[in-house]
């Protein structure tokens, strides 16, 4: 029996299946707790306590919430498109979950009982086009939102769905460009190779040669686009309470609503993982070369931990932003995408392309980034401030004879 | 034809009217309490005073006379020039209102008249906002003056409308004014309460909250009532009325001005005759009997079911073995739809009209005067639509028989299927009909209450009261008068028009006017409605 387990675990395919099961549970738990974290963070930022009644420090709140979601009456309004209405939350949830398949959680390792030369990837599926897979899958998520809005047969929901679709499509473009830049810089499309490519030394620290140093603007663009992709504030126009009464999930209740919720947070985790993997050295811990390169299982577990912490931090930033910045207007949102992000990200691609073609050292892109900032600052349209009100007022007073 | 000038505007008016009438008709809001178009003129309230242009006694020059004249008592004369918009008139109204309110308790919050009170209206429009009275107000007790009426003496403005009504219209003279001057009061003679059959009208004509209806006392505030234009179903006079309702409930009936029919009045029997509308014993579900079992299917099955049963009976027993009994409480439209259904299934079917309830003789008012033109008549025929049903039956042609013949036919077992419509507010089924009903093969009973016919019926179709239905009644004079539905049908019921509409293979919502238009194609009498003219509220 033990041998069989060992042999399953030693096989990349078998290991992938086991990892999948573990991940499913782990991610769902993480999602539940990130909802709690969100509520806590929002409370702290607003000088409140947040959930603190269920369990110590409110730690059992996610359990209570989950039970509530499951036990609530599940209402399907009469005039909805039933099939699509039921399908939509599952669609968005499944799409958010399958993205985890290609995330490189801990790099290469081997179990203690395995032979030298045999090696495993701590990843569900190590495929050559991992990055493209993520892009493809995550853009499917828009279907769930649009279908939900459409099937609800409610004009507000429909608006929500349409907004979400337009927004996701727009931000897909800069996102793709930025990822293209990273592909050019590292020369890989396979996610784990991209992480490995950042193992170099920077400022004397092993494993600190992060893409972030070379493409800070790229990282920022990716981060903001990910916010928009995940429908998070300040880009959550698809679910505005004020104008859309909740947007595409207005008509949903109970666990269907819960699935939308879970999907949003799962989406956050995927995109955080992606950002960390692309720009922040994935599972690499700066300055500890054993941990970064060893193939022992112990090192792998440590790397997973490091990765987890980095993801947690990015998620925290997500939340922090949500409770700081108010929502954009829809035209602003579109303008930022098409007039701001798309040109900037194109400039980054060109920049990286030149560097690669001319075989210049990678640090040249830092200068290039500075140049981009300067150009943007110079090209930023100057709004014409309204002036001269006082003067016009005085004239009016004189005309009306005081 | 006379032309007079009011406030500088010339008005054409008929002769033999007073200036007040002419002014009200032309849209002048002239305050008045004692004047009522249906009563004699006493000119006692002094609110309607006007200025009049008269020749100077010496110089013969035309000028505004220094004294004010009651417009309700001054007949129009060609070229007469009057005005209401002068300072003097405004001041007169202001002072009159102050006097009226001197001893008035001003308890509008608990007064049932509040909201339709002319003291309130005139105070707001013509009066002052506060009283200068410092003495203690006179208190007058309220008096129980009749079985249906209460008198709150301290709210009274002594317009004497109620006294004149009892004298001139009811002809019973129960009310009188006792004492004089500031002590005068309305009262009854000792031991002779207000008991005439029109006493509800004194409450209507009282411009303030002095005479109140015991039945409506403290039930509702009038501003929350909604009005539906209806026709009283109490007798064949066809008095036009307002059904005042709120929250799905009828609260009171009020007469609606209709010259030539009921003028401004209605009788108490009709006024309080709506209680059956909210009778808890009313049938409220469709019932289909199968042997000893009854079931209550959805209303949507009724048209299919009825058509199937009647067609089966017609093909099994012959189309002459089908019959329908119409009720004089049905509206013409409903009767016509039912006839269309029955005759559509069985062209040879027999039609008849149910019993016409009567109660003694017509009672005319003023009582005791045998004047040839009574001011009000309560008809002996206690149903609203005998003539209408007769017209529909005549229009239908074919085999139309009397009620007795119908009963006999049924008793002989010559009816394989029949539709018997009731809708009477009381138990109307005669003994012979009750025993004959059992012999009808497939009996559909449409009624409001349980009776011998509904017990014998295979299918019981609950009927709605007139307040829930719409259509038209034809009164004893042959006037076709429409009425609208006031409240939603009782839970579990459908408006009669609605299911009959479906039976007659019409789709959509029953619309009385549309049905009437179709009826008018064969029966032109239904093309012409008698619609009473509206009176402006200020001409009360």
């Amino acid at each position: 029996m033990l041998d069989w387990i060992k042999s399953v675990l030693s096989d990349q395919f078998g290991f992938g299946i086991v990892l999948m099961a573990v991940l499913l549970v782990a991610i769902l738990t993480a999602v539940a707790y990130s909802i709690l974290l969100e509520r806590k963070v929002s409370a702290w930022i607003q000088d409140r306590f947040g959930p603190n009644r269920v369990g110590p420090y409110g730690l059992l709140q996610p359990v209570a919430d989950g039970l509530k979601m499951l036990l609530k009456e599940d209402i399907i309004p009469r005039n909805v498109d039933r099939a699509l209405f039921i399908l939509a939350p599952w669609m968005i949830f499944v799409v958010a979950m399958v993205g985890f398949a290609v995330i490189p959680w801990g790099g290469q390792f081997r179990w203690p009982w395995m032979d030298e030369g045999e090696i495993l990837q701590a990843q569900v599926a190590s495929i050559d086009i991992g990055l493209l897979y993520i892009l493809a899958v995550s853009s499917l998520g828009v279907y769930g939102v649009v279908l939900g809005g459409w099937a609800s047969n409610n004009k507000y929901s429909f608006y929500g769905g349409m907004r979400a679709a337009a927004q996701m499509l727009s931000y897909e473009v800069p996102m793709g460009m930025v990822i293209l830049t990273v592909i050019l810089a590292t020369g890989h499309v396979r996610l784990e190779s991209m992480v490995v490519a950042q193992t170099g030394t920077f400022f004397g620290l092993h494993g600190f040669d992060w893409m972030f140093w070379y493409h800070p603007i790229g990282a920022l663009l990716l981060f903001i686009s990910a916010l928009a992709e995940a429908n998070r504030t300040p880009f959550d126009l698809a679910e505005c309470e004020q104008e859309l009464v909740g947007g595409y999930h207005t008509e949903y209740s109970a666990m269907k609503m819960g699935l939308f919720f879970l999907a949003e947070y799962a989406h956050m985790i995927t995109s955080s993982a992606l950002i960390v993997a692309l720009f922040f050295g994935g599972y690499l811990l700066p300055g500890w070369s054993w941990l970064n390169t060893s193939e022992s299982a112990l090192a792998m577990f440590c790397r997973v931990g490091v990765f987890g912490f980095k993801i947690l931090f990015v998620i925290f930033v997500y939340m922090w932003i949500r409770w700081t910045i108010p929502r954009f207007r829809y035209d602003q949102l579109m303008r930022i995408a098409w007039k701001g992000f798309v040109p900037i990200s194109m400039a980054l691609v060109v920049l990286q392309g030149i560097v690669v073609y001319a075989e210049w050292p990678q640090w040249v892109t830092i200068l290039g980034n500075v140049a981009v900032v300067l150009v943007v600052a110079a090209a930023m349209p100057r709004g014409r401030p309204v002036t001269g009100r006082q003067a016009s007022l005085e004239r009016k007073v004189q005309v009306s004879g005081g | 034809m006379a032309t007079i000038i009011i406030d500088g505007q010339s008005i054409d008016c008929t002769d033999n009217v007073t200036v007040l009438q002419a002014a009200l008709e032309a849209g002048w809001d002239v305050p008045h309490y004692c004047y009522h178009p249906g009563l004699s003129v006493v000119a006692s309230c002094r609110l309607c005073l006007m200025e009049l242009k008269l020749p100077h006694p010496k110089t013969k020059e035309m000028g505004w006379a220094p004294r004010l004249f009651p417009s309700c008592q001054t007949p129009v004369k060609d070229g007469l020039e009057v005005r209401f918009d002068s300072e003097k008139i405004t001041e007169n109204r202001r002072h009159c209102m102050e006097y009226y309110l001197l001893n008035h308790p001003l308890d509008c919050p608990v007064c049932d008249q509040a909201g339709e009170c002319y003291l309130q209206d005139y105070s707001r429009k013509f009066g002052d906002s506060s009283s200068r009275m410092v003495e203690v107000k006179n208190k007058n007790p309220k008096k129980d003056i009749g079985s249906k009426t209460l008198l709150y003496q301290d709210r009274c403005v002594m317009c004497s409308r109620c006294v004149r009504f009892c004298d001139e219209v009811a002809g019973t003279s129960e009310l009188c004014i006792v004492d004089r001057g500031s002590k005068s009061e309305i009262d009854i003679f000792p031991g002779i309460p207000l008991e005439n059959e029109l006493q509800g009208n004194v409450v209507d004509i009282c411009p303030v909250g002095s005479l109140l209806d015991k039945d409506f006392l403290m039930d509702q505030r009038v501003w929350s009532l909604k009005r539906a234009k209806s026709v009283c179903p109490g007798c064949s006079a066809g008095c036009t009325i307002h059904v005042d309702h709120n929250a799905g409930q009828v609260w009171r009936l009020k007469p609606r001005f209709n010259p030539g029919v009921n003028d401004w009045w209605m009788c108490d029997e009709g006024r309080f005759g709506w209680k059956h509308v909210h009778d808890p014993k009313r049938l409220n579900r469709l019932m289909v009997r199968r042997g000893a079992e009854t079931e209550s299917p959805d209303w949507s099955v009724l048209p299919e079911l009825a058509r199937f049963r009647f067609e089966r009976a017609a093909s099994d027993a012959g189309t002459d073995k089908i019959g329908a009994l119409l009720s004089p409480f049905m509206s013409c439209e409903e009767a016509w739809l039912l006839v269309r259904f029955i005759r559509g299934v069985a062209p040879e079917s027999v039609l008849a009209m149910g019993p016409v309830p009567t109660d003694g003789e017509d009672r005319t008012f003023p009582k005791g005067s045998n004047g040839s033109t009574p001011k009000f008549t309560i008809r002996a025929e206690k149903c609203p639509n005998r003539r209408g049903i007769e017209m529909v039956l005549k229009g239908a042609g074919g085999r139309v028989i009397s009620f007795d013949a119908f009963v006999k036919l049924a008793a002989d077992g010559a009816l394989a299927a029949a539709w018997i419509a009731g809708g009477y507010p009381n138990d109307w089924v005669t003994k012979p009909l009750g025993s004959a009903a059992v012999k009808v093969g497939d009996l559909f009973a449409q009624d409001m209450f349980e009776n011998a016919v509904t017990e014998a019926a295979a299918v019981v179709v609950p009927s709605c009261s007139w307040a829930e239905r719409s259509g038209c009644f034809v009164n004893h004079q042959g006037r076709v008068q429409p009425f609208e539905s006031a409240i939603a049908p009782l839970d579990g019921c459908q408006r009669d028009g609605q299911f009959l509409y479906a039976l007659a293979e019409e789709t959509g919502l029953y619309d009385a006017a549309g049905v009437r238009a179709k009826m008018a194609a064969t029966m032109p009498a239904f093309g012409e409605l008698h619609v009473a003219p509206e009176e402006p509220r200020f001409a009360h």
Binding site: A377, P385, G402 | -
Partner: protein
């Protein structure tokens, strides 16, 4: 007929200096770049995350701690006042029912059994779930019989429980009269 009686107000004597218009300031480069401002905002919220003392001082931990309400003006649960003889002070005039924008008051009036009073409510229901606590009813009442109290812990486990009837409303009065005595009602003879 009212409008022409409204007096024409004399024109206000405006001076140019009475109104000061503030011109929109021009944005600096940092402000136009937007992101520096965002970071400023993030810093502020971050600081707040660690202000434990502020948190503890400002948050009212509801069931354990309760907030003191301004009893003269706080609009909580209704009460029906009693008159000097302990009878319900309401005269069933329906003014509150008429004024209520939420249509949550339901009254049934009747002739009162007392000599000195004309009408009184035999039924007086307020649906506290429908109520929006606007206080219009209190405003409308001619005898100051209905008042809103500073009580805000309004709980019930069924909807029916939240429909306060006459007795319950009188009980609220008995409970709160010490704390907030009835306003001196208008002198009326209803």
């Amino acid at each position: 007929m009212d409008s022409d009686q409204v007096e024409q107000r004399p024109a206000r004597d405006w001076k140019a200096t009475d109104v000061i218009c503030v011109d929109q300031p021009e944005l600096t480069t940092a402000e136009r770049l937007y992101l520096p401002q965002v970071f400023g905002g993030l810093a502020t919220t971050f600081r707040h995350m660690f202000k434990k003392r502020v948190r503890e001082q400002t948050v009212v931990q509801y069931p354990e701690q309760k907030r003191e309400m301004r009893k003269e003006i706080y609009r909580g649960v209704h009460r029906l006042n009693r008159d000097e003889q302990g009878r319900v002070a309401c005269v069933a005039c329906f003014m509150c029912e008429t004024a209520c924008p939420a249509h949550c008051i339901h009254i049934e009036g009747a002739l009162s059994p007392w000599e000195d009073r004309e009408k009184y409510p035999i039924k007086f229901d307020i649906d506290e779930l429908r109520c929006i606590y606007c206080g219009m009813c209190e405003e409308a009442c001619p005898v100051d019989a209905i008042e809103l109290t500073p009580e805000y812990h309004l709980v019930g486990s069924t909807r029916d429980e939240m429909i306060y009837d006459r007795e319950k409303l009188l009980m609220v009065y008995d409970r709160t009269k010490e704390d907030k005595p009835r306003k001196g009602p208008a002198v009326t003879g209803y």
